[in-house]
Symmetry: C2
Subunit: 125 residues, 2 copies
């Protein structure tokens, strides 16, 4: 299994493990925001995954998207493979609201705001 990038360990929290991907919550209270990280070594692009894993990836995107849409009553979902800074393959899934701090622009145009320590501690219960 691959190691998780140090930046992910610092900026996010493991919340679920699926067949292909670990699911981590991004520490940014401005948006409900998760990333899916395939548990495969040395993969930076979707096309480097085996075909079976590519299909698993889209199914896990669908699965987590439905949950994000429902629990956050998202107006829209942004699903993004960027990887310019951390090359290890990861897919962002962000629940967007018309009232969020960067709507209708990309989440990348606003600075992040960490969750409070209390919110993070409560989320462990």
């Amino acid at each position: 299994m691959q190691k998780v990038s140090k930046k992910f360990l610092k900026d996010s929290h493991l919340i679920a493990e699926l067949k292909l991907c670990n699911v981590r919550l991004i520490n940014n209270s401005k948006f409900p925001w998760i990333i899916l990280i395939p548990k495969r070594k040395n993969i930076t692009d979707i096309f480097q995954l085996k075909r079976k894993d590519q299909n698993l990836l889209i199914q896990e995107i669908v699965h987590t998207s439905k949950i994000m849409k429902k629990i956050f009553k998202a107006f829209n979902l942004n699903v993004e493979k960027i990887g310019n800074v951390v090359s290890q393959l990861h897919i962002h899934i962000i629940a967007r609201s018309k009232k969020d701090s960067s709507w209708p622009l990309s989440v990348w145009v606003v600075k992040k705001k960490n969750y409070s320590k209390i919110a993070l501690e409560l989320s462990n219960y």
Copy 2:
């Protein structure tokens, strides 16, 4: 078959038709940038596609990504479903270079620059 959003017709050019998606070149000379638009009616999210189409979508993303990576010698590919402005489902595939105008930031932080008319006319031959 679905109608293509007026904004797509204005801002992009049809360059290929795949089994599921039309492929259009975005009129922004700052980045090699295509969008894949599934030829299905009233779809705004990946999870609304039938499972067979979801798998076709990831395969067409893989297919076009490999081509973009190769012909533009891309350092990285950004693959993004945003849809905050145009809700019709479309996937952006953008070939990124360490020398491009917004590296390593998102392409959404810089203003677009149209191709020159001459470049567009030449591309029709």
